[in-house]
C-alpha cells in the first residue's frame, strides 16, 4: 500500500513530536520531514514533494498562510492542512483562500486529524468539527437576528449539486466529469452560485457550505 507522505511544519518541537508519534502509528502514513518555520517548510516541500503538509498557522519569520501560498504556487497538487490555535473564521477563510484543503484546531481529536489528512490527500476539504459547528451556529444566529431570507432557497437543484461538489474540494474539471457536463457549463453555474449567495470565491464558497452543513 502506498503511504501518505507527510511534511510537518511547526515551530514547537513538542507539537511536532506529538503529531509524529500519532502519524507514525498509522500504517498508511509516514512523516518525511519536519520544518520549524515557514521558509524551511517551503524549502522542504520543494525537496520532498510530500502528499500532505501539516502547517502551523502562527510561525515566526513566515507564517503558515503565506507558506501555504508559496508551497501551493510551486506544487498545486500538495494537500495543505492548517493546524491552528485560532477558531475565528478570519483564519479559516484566509487559510482556504491561500489554498489549504483542511483547517484543524490543535485540540482536535485524533480522528479529525487523520480524517483531515486523508481528505487533503484525496483533494477534499475538511474543517475541524468544532469550527464547522461554530460557523453553523453563527450563521443560524445571524439569520435569526437579521431576519434575512435564506439565499440558499434561490439556488436551483443543479446549482446546489455543483455547490456541494465544489465545496468538497473538486476542481471545475472534476465536477464536469462527475456530472457529465462541460467545464464551461460548470464555470457558468459557479458564477451564478457566487452571485446569488453574494460570495467572492472558492474559499467563501467552502465556508458557506460549512455553515449550511452542506459539507461537514
Amino acid at each position: 500500500m502506498r503511504q501518505i507522505r507527510i511534511l510537518l511544519a511547526d515551530d514547537h518541537t513538542f507539537v511536532r513530536d506529538g503529531l509524529r508519534a500519532l502519524l507514525e502509528r498509522q500504517p498508511d502514513m509516514t512523516v518525511v520531514a519536519e520544518a520549524s518555520d515557514g521558509r524551511e517548510c517551503v524549502q522542504l516541500a520543494l525537496e520532498h514533494l510530500p502528499d500532505v503538509v501539516m502547517m502551523d498557522v502562527a510561525m515566526p519569520g513566515m507564517n503558515g498562510i503565506e507558506a501555504s501560498r508559496r508551497v501551493l504556487a510551486a506544487n498545486p497538487g500538495i494537500g495543505v492542512v492548517m493546524l491552528s490555535m485560532h477558531q475565528d473564521e478570519s483564519y479559516v477563510l484566509r487559510s482556504l483562500k491561500a489554498g489549504a484543503k483542511g483547517y484543524l484546531l490543535k485540540d482536535s481529536p485524533r480522528e479529525d486529524v487523520l480524517e483531515a489528512i486523508h481528505a487533503a490527500n484525496a483533494g477534499r476539504s475538511f474543517v475541524s468539527r468544532k469550527i464547522s459547528r461554530m460557523l453553523q451556529e453563527d450563521y443560524v444566529q445571524q439569520l435569526d437576528s437579521k431576519g434575512l431570507e435564506d439565499s440558499y432557497e434561490l439556488l436551483t437543484g443543479r446549482e446546489r449539486e455543483i455547490l456541494q461538489l465544489l465545496a468538497e474540494g473538486n476542481a471545475n474539471k472534476e465536477v464536469a466529469a462527475l456530472l457529465n457536463i462541460s467545464p464551461t457549463t460548470v464555470e457558468t453555474h459557479r458564477g451564478h452560485i457566487l452571485q446569488k449567495l453574494s460570495l467572492h470565491g472558492t474559499a467563501d464558497l467552502i465556508l458557506y457550505a460549512v455553515r449550511k452543513r452542506i459539507i461537514s
Binding site: F14, V15, G18, L19, M85, D88, E89, S90, D107, S145
Partner: protein, 468 residues
C-alpha cells in the same frame, strides 16, 4: 594661577541656596523691599523738609532778634549821651543826682543787652562784640569820672568833655555797632546759601530715590514677567508631558496586551495542545502495551488529563483574545471588528452589522488599535446600558483620514449628565492621534459614536512630542 576652591564655594553655595528659594518668596521679598524703600524715602523727605523750614524760621528769628538787641544798644548809647549832657548842664546838685541814677540804670541795661547779644552772636562776631564791650566799659568809666565833679568843675569842663571825650567815643561805639550789624547781615546771607545747598541736596536725594524706585520696580516687573512666562511655559510643557505620558501608557498597555496574548496563545496554548496530544498518544500506547482489559484505569486518567488540558486551552484562548484579538495583528482591523461583533452578538443577542472597505485593513498600527478599542468600548456600552437591538459599525477610509462610527438604536443618554462609560478613555485615544471624537445622543434617540482620525503627516503634526 591657582584658584582656591574655598573662594568659589560661597558663590556656589549662594547660588545653590538661591535656586532652592521659591520664586514667589523672591518676588514677595522684592516687592516688600521696594515698598519699604519707598516709604522710608517718603518719610525721610518729609522729615528733611520739616527740618529745613524749621531751620529757616529759627535763623530768621535769631537774625531779627539780634538786630533788635543791636538797635537797643545803639539807642541806649544815644540816650546815655543825652543824659550825660543833661547832667553836665544841670544847674543844681539834686538834678544831677537824678541824672546819675538814670545813667547807672542805662549802664546796667547796656551791659545786660550786650551780654544777651554776645550769647546770640556768631563766632565771627566775637572780636567785634568784645571791642564794643571794651569801648562801652571805657565810655562808662569816663562817664563815671564826671559824677564826682562839683558845680564849678562841671561848668568849667562840660564843653571840652562833651566834644572831646563823649562824642568821639560815642561815634566809635556806633561804628562798631554798625560793623556788628553788617556781620550779622553776612551771617544771614551765609545761612541762606546753606539753605540753598540743603535744598539742592534734597532735590538730588529725591531724584536718586525716584531713580532707585523706578529701576527696582522695573527689575521686579521684569522678573515677574519672566517668571510668569516661565511658569506658563512650564505649565504647557507639563501638559505636553502629561499627554505624552498618557500616550505612552496607552501604547505600553497595548504592547503588553499584545505580548501577553501572543505568549498565552503561542507558548501556553501550544504546550497545552501538545499535552493533549501526548495524553492521546500515551492512551494508545497503554492499550497496545497492557491489553484492553487491564488499561481501563490508566486510560481514564489520560482522558481526564486530555479534558483538563482542553478546558485550560479554551480558557487561555479566550483570555488571549480578550487581551488583544490576534486577527488585529495578523489580518488587520476588519477581521478583528467582525470577530468582536460576532462575539458580542453571541453573548448579547444583538444584531450587529459591520460595514468596512477592504482598504481599512491596512491602517497604521496605532489607528487600527484605536478604532478597535473604540468599537469594543462602544459595543460594550450599547450592550450594557443602551438596551439596543441593532448596531451598525462603519469604517471608511479616505486618503487623508479614517472615519469610524458605531450607531445603536438604544436608549441614548444625556451628554450633560453622563460621563464615564469609558468616554474619557475614547477621547484620550482619539486625541492622541490628532483626531476628533463626536458623541451624538439624547435620551430615547440612540447613540452614535463618531471618530475621525487623520492619517500619516497630520497625525504626526498633531503630536509635537512623539513617544519613543
Amino acid at each position: 594661577m591657582r584658584v582656591f576652591p574655598s573662594r568659589l564655594f560661597p558663590v556656589r553655595l549662594f547660588r545653590a541656596r538661591l535656586s532652592h528659594v521659591r520664586p514667589s518668596w523672591i518676588l514677595l521679598g522684592g516687592f516688600g523691599g521696594l515698598i519699604v524703600f519707598i516709604l522710608a524715602a517718603a518719610l525721610g523727605t518729609v522729615f528733611m523738609l520739616d527740618r529745613v523750614s524749621d531751620e529757616d524760621r529759627r535763623l530768621r528769628r535769631t537774625f531779627i532778634e539780634r538786630l533788635g538787641e543791636l538797635e537797643q544798644i545803639r539807642s541806649e548809647i544815644y540816650l546815655s549821651g543825652t543824659y550825660v549832657r543833661d547832667f553836665l548842664l544841670s544847674p543844681d546838685a539834686g538834678g544831677a543826682q537824678e541824672q546819675r541814677t538814670r545813667l547807672s540804670g542805662i549802664e546796667q541795661e547796656t551791659h545786660t543787652q550786650l551780654d544777651r547779644y554776645s550769647r546770640l552772636s556768631e563766632p565771627e562776631e566775637a572780636a567785634a562784640v568784645e571791642s564794643l564791650r571794651g569801648e562801652i566799659d571805657a565810655y562808662w568809666q569816663v562817664m563815671q569820672s564826671t559824677f564826682d565833679w562839683n558845680q564849678d568843675e562841671r561848668d568849667e569842663r562840660r564843653y571840652t568833655f562833651f566834644y572831646e571825650q563823649l562824642v568821639p567815643r560815642r561815634t566809635t561805639m556806633l561804628q562798631i555797632a554798625d560793623q556788628i550789624g553788617s556781620i550779622n547781615q553776612r551771617g544771614l546771607a551765609r545761612a541762606e546759601e546753606r539753605f540753598g545747598t540743603t535744598e539742592r541736596n534734597l532735590r538730588w536725594s529725591l531724584i536718586a530715590t525716584f531713580t532707585v524706585t523706578l529701576l527696582g520696580g522695573a527689575l521686579l516687573a521684569f522678573m515677574t514677567v519672566t517668571l510668569t512666562l516661565r511658569l506658563g511655559r512650564e505649565v504647557e510643557r507639563r501638559g505636553h508631558d502629561l499627554q505624552d505620558l498618557s500616550a505612552r501608557l496607552v501604547r505600553a498597555q497595548e504592547e503588553e496586551r499584545r505580548m501577553l496574548a501572543r505568549e498565552l496563545h503561542d507558548e501556553v496554548g501550544q504546550a497545552l495542545s501538545a499535552i493533549m496530544m501526548e495524553a492521546d498518544n500515551a492512551e494508545v500506547h497503554l492499550i497496545s502495551a497492557a491489553g484492553a482489559q487491564n488499561s481501563e484505569e490508566g486510560r481514564d486518567r489520560l482522558r481526564s488529563i486530555n479534558t483538563m488540558a482542553a478546558k485550560t486551552l479554551n480558557a487561555v484562548r479566550d483570555l488571549a483574545l480578550l487581551l488583544r484579538p490576534s486577527m488585529l495583528d495578523d489580518f488587520g482591523l476588519v477581521p478583528a471588528l467582525n470577530w468582536q461583533a460576532r462575539e458580542t452578538a453571541k453573548r448579547t443577542g444583538l444584531s450587529i452589522r459591520v460595514t468596512a472597505g477592504d482598504d481599512c485593513d491596512e491602517l497604521p498600527d496605532d489607528h487600527k488599535t484605536c478604532i478597535y478599542r473604540l468599537a469594543q468600548e462602544a459595543l460594550n456600552n450599547s450592550a450594557r446600558h443602551a438596551d439596543a437591538r441593532e448596531l451598525q459599525v462603519t469604517v471608511k477610509r479616505t486618503p487623508e483620514s479614517v472615519y469610524f462610527s458605531v450607531q445603536d438604536d438604544g436608549a441614548g443618554f444625556d451628554k450633560r449628565t453622563v460621563r464615564g462609560l469609558g468616554l474619557l478613555g475614547m477621547e484620550e485615544r482619539v486625541r492622541r492621534l490628532g483626531g476628533k471624537l463626536k458623541i451624538e445622543t439624547s435620551p430615547g434617540r440612540g447613540t452614535a459614536i463618531v471618530a475621525e482620525l487623520p492619517l500619516m503627516e497630520e497625525a504626526h503634526a498633531a503630536n509635537p512630542y512623539p513617544a519613543g
